[in-house]
Each structure stands twice: as C-alpha cells, then as structure tokens.
Symmetry: C2
Subunit: 298 residues, 2 copies
C-alpha cells in the first residue's frame, strides 16, 4: 500500500500547479517511508489513512530539506542533497511549500490529527535548534541529549503512531509510547552508525558528528568512563576534523570501555519495551518494525 501513499503525495505536489516544484520533487529520494509504513500498519489503508501517511511523509521530507541546510550536508543516502544541487534557497522554500501543503491537507483529515502533527513539527524544529546549540560546547548531560533526540527524531514518529491510532479508534497514548521509543532508539542507532560504519557506507566521513561538535550518547558514556587525562584528550579533539590516529584513539577507547555495546543496549531496552506494549495490544504486525529499528546495517 506504500504505492498508494506515493501516488497521493504526487497528487498533492501536482495540485501546487508549479512546474519547477514538480521537477525539484522528482529529484528527491523517497527514503524508507518508515512513518507511512507505521501509520498503515496501525490503521489500515482507507483513503483517510493514506492521506495522513502522505502528509506525514511530505512533512518529514520538508524537515530533511531544512535539516540538510542546517547541517551543511551535501549528500543524503549517498546522493547529492537538494541544497547541494540547487542551493540552500531552493531547499528552504521547497521545505516551506511541503510543510504548508501538508498543514493545509491536515485540515481535510481531522483537527485532532492536525494538532498532533503540527505540534510534532514544532518539537522537531526545537530539536534541530537544540542540536545546533548543544554542539557549541562539549555536552556531557545525557538528559539534554535524550530530550533533544526526542524532539528532533522521536516526536514525529510518536505523533504518526498517535494519529494512526486516533483514526483507527485505538488507544492513542499506548501507540504514542511505542512510537516515541522507536524514534529515540532509531536516533541512538543512527548516532552509533556514525561511529561504527565506514565513510563509504555512511556517505559522509566517519565520526562526523563529533567533528561537528555533537557529543552523542557514546561520547557521553565514553567521557564518563575515561580518567582525567583522557577526558582532557577527548575534549581537545571535540569539534575538530580528526586525523586517522585521533580517530583510532577514540575508537580504541570506546572498545576498551564497551561503549558501543552499552549504547546499543540502551536502544534495545526501548525497543523491547515497545515490543512488550504491542504484544499486549495483540499488534503482532508492529513487532517487526520495532526490530528493524535497531537491526540496521549493524
């Protein structure tokens, strides 16, 4: 049923009646459509559900367009990003067009769904802002990290699950916890992949986050585990482009203190919680999506 979602998105884009936008949209990668899958698995595939999934994916695409400008990212999924191809201006405006068309269409679905999704967009924008702010210094506060990734990544997945449950007449709160756990775990794994994958797989240099000043969960755990001298060393590397020796030092320290395993375990706990919740609801179709979240290229 994902193809019905793709067709609905295309229809929305065509309704904008702008050739340039249609051409730009055709250049965008579609991604995994994780949020759409989640919505369809929770709520089925009636027209209202397909519309909701289409809107959420448009909104997610808009957030990625702005995110790539924010992060000065010139590739996404190993392809040049839209801002790399057509400049930041186009990426910003195309994002605004997709956001506002999405909000417009939400008014044709349900006020409660519109509120859930628009609130999530506020949260994810606050999260992006906090991501940039936190990266300005060496953040060692795990709660701040968790709140930021909740806002940046989990809020829209949480709202997608909540909206789907609402439309399907299922208990909204339980599905929102499920979505929130999935989202936080997803971002934790993303942050881990930045450390464990090579640059060819990532489509960006490894340890890119740390060079950008982002102290993701593994760096926070590593910092806690290091002695004072090593703590100083790690701080001195923060926000710098690292040479091979410096990268190797970080990775050896992470290995010694089993940081990757510990961080992975933390994501796994969230997924296990989500799985138990869905088992209790008899939602066996939702167990697979949860497992996929932490079994990515690992």
């Amino acid at each position: 049923m994902l193809s019905a979602v793709e067709r609905k998105i295309e229809q929305y884009i065509i309704e904008l009646n702008d050739k340039e936008v249609l051409a730009y949209y055709a250049k965008l990668p579609h991604g995994k459509r994780l949020r759409a899958k989640l919505i369809l698995k929770i709520a089925g595939n009636s027209l209202t559900i397909v519309k909701t999934a289409a809107v959420v994916e448009m909104i997610h695409t808009a957030s990625l367009l702005h995110d790539d400008v924010i992060d000065d990212a010139y590739t996404r999924r190993n392809m040049p990003s839209l801002n790399a191809l057509y400049g930041n201006k186009t990426a910003i405006m195309l994002g605004d067009i997709l956001y506002s068309k999405g909000f417009f269409e939400l008014n044709n679905i349900s006020t409660d769904v519109a509120k859930l999704i628009s609130n999530a967009v506020t949260q994810l924008s606050l999260g992006e802002l906090n991501d940039v702010l936190l990266a300005k210094s060496f953040n060692t506060d795990k709660d701040k990290y968790l709140h930021m990734i909740y806002q940046k990544t989990a809020s829209l997945i949480e709202a997608s699950a909540g909206a789907a449950a609402l439309l399907a007449g299922k208990p909204k709160e339980v599905y929102m916890v499920y979505g929130r756990n999935l989202g936080i775990a997803f971002q934790m794994i993303d942050d881990l992949l930045d450390i464990t994958s090579d640059s060819a797989t990532l489509g960006k240099p490894a340890l890119h986050d740390f060079a950008e000043g982002k102290t993701t969960l593994p760096y926070i755990y590593l910092y806690e585990a290091l002695d004072d001298e090593e703590k100083q060393m790690l701080r001195s590397l923060h926000g710098k482009v690292l040479n091979g020796e410096e990268q190797a030092w970080i990775q050896s320290r992470m290995q010694k203190h089993q940081i990757i395993q510990r961080s992975y375990h933390e994501a796994k706990i969230l997924i296990d919680e989500a799985i138990v919740l869905m088992e209790q609801c008899g939602e066996t179709a939702l167990l697979g999506i949860a497992r996929e979240m932490i079994d990515r290229d690992f």
Copy 2:
C-alpha cells in the same frame, strides 16, 4: 488593540517552553503589524480575532526570517537581521517553529481559517521560489512579475482579510479582493522605493533589486520604452553591482520616460478599486489602511 495581539504572540512563544527561542524572539523587530491591524479593523477584537491576528503575524515573521536567508539580507528596518546576528541555521529553525506553532493554533480557531492561511503560506513560499527563479534571467514579462508578487506578498494579506471576514460573518470574497489589491500595491510600492529612496532610508543600497537580478515593474516598463541600443545597455547592467554613473543612467532614463509615475499610477488604480469596494460595503475604517499602502515614505 494591537497590544492584545502582542501579548497573545508572547503567550504563544512562552508556551514553546524554550528559553533560547524566547531570547531570539525578543530580538526580532515587531514591524508595522499591518496584517493584524487589517484583521482587527475588519472583525473587531474578540479573543478569536486576536488569536487569528497573532497567528498571522507569527506566520508573517516566519516568512520574513526565511526571506532574509533567501535574499542574503543582513539588515531589516535598518537593524541587523536575525540571520546576521545568529546565523542562517537559527533563522531557518526559528521560522519553522513560528510556522508550526501558528498552524497548531489555527486548529483552535476554525478549519476554514486554517485552510485559508495555510494555503497562503504555500503561495508565499512558491512566490519566494519564483522570485529567485525569475531573477536568474532578465524577465520582461509583466504577468510573471504580477503573479510572483501576488504569491509572495498579496496572498497572505488576501487570506488575512478573508479569514477576518469569515469570522465576522462578512462576505469573504469581497474582502479577499480588497486584501489582494492592497498586497499587490504594497509590493509595487516596495519595489518603487528601491529605486526612489536613498540607501540610508532603505537600509540597503539603492537599485539593490536590479543588482540582484530582479526586474521589478519599473524595469519592465523602462525596457519597453527604450530603443534597441538602450535595451542592450540595460540588459548589460542586469544582475551587476552598479557604479554611480550606471545608476544615474538608469534613473535618468526612468525620469525621461516617466516610469516611476507610471508604476505608481498602476498601484494607485488597485488601491482606488479597493477603496470603492470598501465604500460599497460601508467599511469606512478600511479606507485609511488602503491609502497608507501607497503613501509610504514617498
């Protein structure tokens, strides 16, 4: 009653529960609140109207934040713009936060109003995109210019007037024509001021639009009036930073062909139409706003 609108906006910002955003918002100029004034004059000052005006002004502010990033503008109203102070990233995200909070709050007002306003945001974003695209070549097509300024500037004023009329139980269509005419005239005058004002008044170099590649109405009329050799000359200056002699040449040609008067007259026709419409509706309070539109620093 504008102060009630300001307080409502502040309340919305406080509800975001983010200290950084509150601090950024405090640095933003409030502007003339033209759209809020218009809404209050059409629909009175009940709580719903104040909320609508507050949302529209938040959305307008969001569009200016993104507009300044798009235009590489480092000043607004002779003050450093937010992107100049805190970087493009902050300006993009703060814009997204204001947009999404605005859309969220629209759901507490009325679905019809939410549709009108969100559709206008799509239009204004399409307009910004087209503004950038049109500036890539020497546009001599008046219809394209008019459509672009309708989208970029008039659509939100049109929707504001329409939303206010809807909430006040007045005929939506008439007020939307009024708002559209005001918006188009407003942008025409803005484009004229870029030519007639000095750089101290504008807070940016005079003839800035043309240097950026924008052939606003006066340039389209001038081009039509010039002979072939002069047409070539004008084309050769397009998209370049002009020296004093080149600026003087353009201004002398405009003077010779009475381009400023002709462009001003075109804006005046729209305003006169708007005034007649409102006189027919017995809306004497709306005549002044229309006149202010074309009597700015002129």
